[in-house]
Amino acid sequence: MTRVFAMTLTILRKDLLVEWRARAQAVALLGFAAVVLLLFSFAVGPDSTMLAKHAGGYLWLALLLASTLLLGRSLQTEVETDALEALLLAPVPPAALFYGKALANAGLLVMVALVAVPVDLAITGAGIVENPVLLALIVVLGAAGIAAPGTFYAALTARIDGRQLLLPLLLFPLVVPALLASVKATSLVMTGDPMEQLPGWIALLVCFDAIYWSLCGLLFEKVVDG
């Protein structure tokens, strides 16, 4: 158990290091999220009340779209250099490989959010969030909800020809509950929560994360063996 944990941290460190050395790509991802947010505003028009009302929705759609780019190349280095087999022979337990990569992806997604949230708040005119800690919690839970099934499906589609199309197609219907909960919770933090609905949505996010972080970790062995 401690070995799996140590290996998870090693994989996480490796993936973050690879991202750091190719940081131009990470910066491009931040730019992508910002541009998507800008495009949503163009699609809705300069109606500031409407924009502020839907600020949470735009933020999560931008993060979800950015995540498909991020996840798509999450295993690309390993697959292109046949390093996946080497990692498994090392031997890295498949669960450690999954959790290391999923944590790295969740972390990178949170990093994208660090840029996307201020941009979103600024261009939609939603203003200053009174409770940034709560918003940070929702961002972390939501990013984790996208990263676990996302990393899993990225591994599943890594060697398939139509993976650029297949990954979002598999991921989007699956993360509907996480997306709904994240959008609702974010909107409630931004616009106020008179009905006290926030704990319910956060609980839903926690449940979604718990289900998919455990289920995907359990099934990952079959995916990398196949």
Partner: protein, 246 residues
């Protein structure tokens, strides 16, 4: 048509169609119109059986997928495909029927009701599983991917349902035989049984087709190895005649 699976499947389809037709005949001509909705309410006899059957086939697919993943037996893979395909078709039918019913009843083709939205998400999630199967060439990998994606999509069903239920709600309470008069319960029961039997027959036939396909694929001769990629930096790895030319 010598295979017992195909014969049983065909018998099930015919029996199921007869039962469904009988259920609809009672539902359309014998049973009274629904108290609130009038004749429009008669879509119940096709809509509710479709919903029940779709969910049952996804459940069958889930069980078959677990078997397929842990035993690796080809029959489970074929059964998963058959069940997912029948379930997906039924879910699409469900969405179309729902829209036809919602228009006169709710005065809209689409609402963000939990059951309706869950059905749409399910149709997408399981439809993609079938699409993915087409894109994978290696049988073992395809079997694994189908099973894994089916399991994950099925686990999502209750989570999607509850999340959407919180998010917005308009659909009427689920109709069961207990919530209606026995005059309406009979056609519903017969139609539901018919739909289930017909679906089972279609699933068996589809499973047979998949088994034949998988067997042909396993028997097919190996493809000749592809030519070594041309390496300009390494003369030994490329085509020697080409190197002389340059």
């Amino acid at each position: 048509m010598k295979s017992p699976l195909a014969i049983v499947g065909l018998i099930f389809v015919v029996l199921g169609m007869l039962a469904t037709a009988a259920g609809h005949w009672i539902g359309l001509f014998v049973a009274p119109p629904e108290a609130m909705m009038g004749d429009v309410g008669r879509i119940l006899y096709v809509h509710v059986p479709t919903a029940w059957a779709a969910l049952i086939f996804f459940m069958v697919a889930f069980v078959a997928a677990i078997g397929s993943l842990w035993s690796g037996w080809r029959g489970f893979d074929a059964a998963t495909t058959g069940a997912v395909e029948v379930g997906t078709v039924l879910t699409f039918l469900l969405l179309i029927q729902g829209s036809i019913w919602a228009r006169p009843t709710w005065n809209t083709w689409w609402t963000w009701d939990p059951r309706l939205t869950t059905s749409a998400v399910l149709a997408a999630a399981f439809g993609v599983v079938l699409l993915m199967r087409r894109l994978i060439d290696q049988p073992a990998k395809r079997q694994m991917a189908t099973a894994v994606a089916t399991i994950i999509a099925f686990v999502d069903v209750p989570v999607v349902y509850f999340s959407v239920k919180w998010w917005a709600s308009l659909h009427q309470q689920a109709s069961t035989r207990a919530s209606m008069d026995s005059v309406m319960g009979l056609p519903l029961g017969v139609a539901a049984l018919g739909m289930l039997v017909m679906g089972t027959g279609l699933m068996l036939l589809r499973t047979k087709v998949e088994l034949v396909r998988l067997a042909h694929e396993a028997d097919a001769p190996e493809l000749p190895p592809t030519a070594a990629p041309l390496r300009l930096d390494d003369p030994a790895g490329g085509d020697p005649t080409l190197d002389e030319a340059t």
